[in-house]
C-alpha cells in the first residue's frame, strides 16, 4: 500500500506557514506609527478592539458560538486590571495576567450555561450574563466607582522601563505587541488539531460525537480561551486609558463587536483585524467630519456593505485576489 501513496501532503502539512501577505500586514502597525504619529491613541484603541474582536472570532468564527454579551469578559478584565492598579499593583503585565485568569474562570463557569440551547438562546444567555455583571458593577459603587468610573489607577511603566506618555507611544507599542503575541498564539491554535476540530464542530456539530469528539468539552475550552482574550483586551484598555467606567460592560460594546466581526468576515483571524480597522477608522473619520449625525453615514455604510459586499472585508479581498489570480493566469 505504501508504494501507491503518491500524494503531495504540502497543503495540509504546511498550512500554517506565514504567507508574504501576512508579513506585509504586520508592517501596517509599524508604518502607521510613522504615518499617523498624532493619532496613536486611536491606533492603540484599534489594536485593543482588534484583540477583543479576535477573541469573539475564536468562539464565533471558529466554534460557531454566537454571543451578545462578550463585553462581560472585556469589562471584567478591565476592572480586574483597573482595581489592581488602583490598589498599588500597577505592573501592566501582572495586570494582564490576572485579568486573563479571572476572565477565564468566569468564561469556564458560564460556558455551561451558554452551551445549552440554540443560537437565539445563546445570544440571550450571554446577554443576560453581561447585563447582570453590568448591574453588579453599577451597584458596587464603593469598589468600582459605579457610573462615575474607577478612580486612582496608577499604572507603572511597562517592564519597569517604558512610562505611559501623553503621545501614547508606549501605550501603542505595548498594545500592538500584546496583540501580535496573542494573534500568534491564536494562529497556532487555529492551525492545530484543536482548531480543526472546532471547525468541524461549526460545520457539522451533529457528526462530531460520531467521530469520538467531546463537543461540549471542546466548546467550553474555546469559550474559556475567548473569555481570557477578551479579558486581556479589557485590561489593555484600562491600562492605556488609565481609567475604567461602566461602559466597558455595556450592551453596546458587545453589539458593536459583533458588528465589527461580521463586517470583517468571521472565521478568519485577519477578518477580525481588518474589520476593526475599517470600522473604527470609518467611525473616527465620520464623527470628526460630522460630530452630530455621523451615525447616519456609518449606518448607510453597513447597509451598503451587506447589500453589495456580503462576505465582509475578507470576502471582498478574496474576491480581488481571485480576480488577480485569474488575470495572471495563476491557478490555486
Amino acid at each position: 500500500m505504501q508504494a501507491t501513496l503518491a500524494l503531495d501532503l504540502a497543503p495540509i502539512a504546511r498550512a500554517d506557514r506565514w504567507r508574504p501577505a501576512e508579513l506585509a500586514f504586520w508592517l501596517i502597525p509599524v508604518a502607521a506609527y510613522f504615518i499617523f504619529p498624532e493619532n496613536l491613541v486611536l491606533l492603540t484603541q484599534i489594536a485593543i478592539t482588534a484583540l477583543f474582536c479576535l477573541s469573539l472570532d475564536l468562539i464565533l468564527g471558529y466554534a460557531g458560538i454566537v454571543s451578545l454579551g462578550h463585553a462581560a469578559f472585556f469589562g471584567l478584565g478591565a476592572y480586574a486590571a483597573g482595581l489592581l492598579a488602583a490598589h498599588g499593583y500597577g505592573d501592566p503585565l501582572i495586570g494582564l495576567a490576572v485579568a486573563a485568569v479571572v476572565t477565564a474562570v468566569l468564561g469556564y463557569v458560564t460556558s455551561f450555561l451558554v452551551l445549552r440551547g440554540a443560537d437565539l438562546t445563546r445570544l440571550m444567555v450571554t446577554l443576560g450574563v453581561s447585563m447582570m455583571l453590568y448591574e453588579i458593577a453599577n451597584k458596587l459603587t464603593d469598589i468600582t466607582g459605579g457610573v462615575d468610573g474607577l478612580q486612582g489607577m496608577e499604572v507603572l511603566p511597562v517592564l519597569g522601563q517604558f512610562e505611559f506618555d501623553l503621545y501614547g507611544k508606549t501605550a501603542y507599542w505595548y498594545a500592538v505587541a500584546v496583540l501580535f503575541v496573542l494573534f500568534w498564539v491564536a494562529r497556532k491554535l487555529v492551525h492545530s488539531p484543536f482548531g480543526l476540530s472546532l471547525k468541524g464542530i461549526r460545520l457539522n456539530v451533529g457528526r462530531m460525537p460520531a467521530l469520538g469528539a467531546p463537543v461540549n468539552g471542546r466548546l467550553s475550552t474555546v469559550y474559556t480561551i475567548g473569555a481570557a482574550y477578551a479579558g486581556i483586551a479589557g485590561a489593555l484598555l484600562a491600562q492605556t486609558t488609565q481609567f475604567v467606567a461602566l461602559d466597558v460592560l455595556a450592551f453596546n460594546r458587545s453589539a458593536e463587536l459583533l458588528l465589527i466581526l461580521v463586517l470583517g468576515g468571521s472565521g478568519s483571524l485577519y477578518g477580525a483585524l481588518l474589520g476593526t480597522i475599517v470600522f473604527m477608522s470609518a467611525h473616527h473619520l465620520l464623527s470628526d467630519l460630522n460630530p452630530q449625525y455621523w451615525q447616519f453615514w456609518l449606518g448607510a455604510l453597513l447597509v451598503v456593505i451587506v447589500l453589495f459586499a456580503r462576505d465582509g472585508v475578507m470576502g471582498g479581498l478574496r474576491g480581488v485576489q481571485r480576480r488577480l489570480d485569474a488575470a495572471f493566469g495563476r491557478t490555486k
Partner: protein, 251 residues
Amino acid sequence: MTTYALQTRNLVKKFGGFVATNDVSLNVEAGARHALIGPNGAGKTTLINLLTGFLEPTSGDVILNGEPVTHLAQHQRVKRGLARTFQINRLFADLTVLESVTMAVNERIGIGARFWRPIGAYAEAVDEAAQLLATLRLLDLAHEKTRNLAYGKQRLIEIALALAMKPRVLLLDEPAAGVPTSESRELFETIAALPRDVTILLIEHDMDLVFRFADQISVLVSGALLTGGTPDEIAVNPKVKEVYLGEAISV
C-alpha cells in the same frame, strides 16, 4: 461459544405514548455482516440512535463487546469501537477530504485537543488519513473541498470518516441512499472489501444489496423484531413476505 459484538437486551424507547422501539433483543455476532431491514416507519433509525447513544432508552440495555454501554455518551461509545455512518450526509462542507479524515483520525488517536503544534506536525495522523483515502481510492480528491464532490463520492467520505475510527463494529445507515446507480457499484465494492474483523450492521432498503451482502438478517416491524436468520431463511419466511407484500420486491 459465539461472541457477540453488539447486543441489545429488551430495549424499549417510548416517545410519550408512542412506542418506537418495543422490547428489542438483537444479537450481532463478531465479524458478521448483519443486515437490519424493515418497512418505512419500522423504527430502524430510532434503533440506530439508541445503539449509538444519540438517544437514551426508556428501559433495556445496549451491550458492546460484552460490556454494557447503555448510559455512555456517543463519543465514549465511539472510543470503544462503535462507529457509524449517516443516512443523510453529515460532512464538513468547507474542509478538504484529507482535512476531514485527518480530523477523524486525530480524534481516534486522542490528539484532537492538542492546540499548540500544527496539524502537519502530527505526521502519523495525516499519513494514516492518506492511507485510508488510498484504500478507498479517493487519493486524487484529497485536497478537494467536500462540498465540491459528486454525491457518490461524498457517500464514500461518510464511510471513510467512520473507518477512521478503526471500528470493531460499524453501523452503516443506508449507505447507498440517494446514490445514482451509475455510482453505486463502486460504493458496494468498497463495502464488500471492508476487512472481515470489522463487524457490520447494515440498514438498507435495497434488497438486492442486502441478500448479496449479508450473512444474517433481522427484520424490524413496528418497533419490534419480527424475526431473524440467514438470508435463505428470511427469503422463505412467510411472515416477512406478508410484511413486504405490496412493496413489490422479488425475493
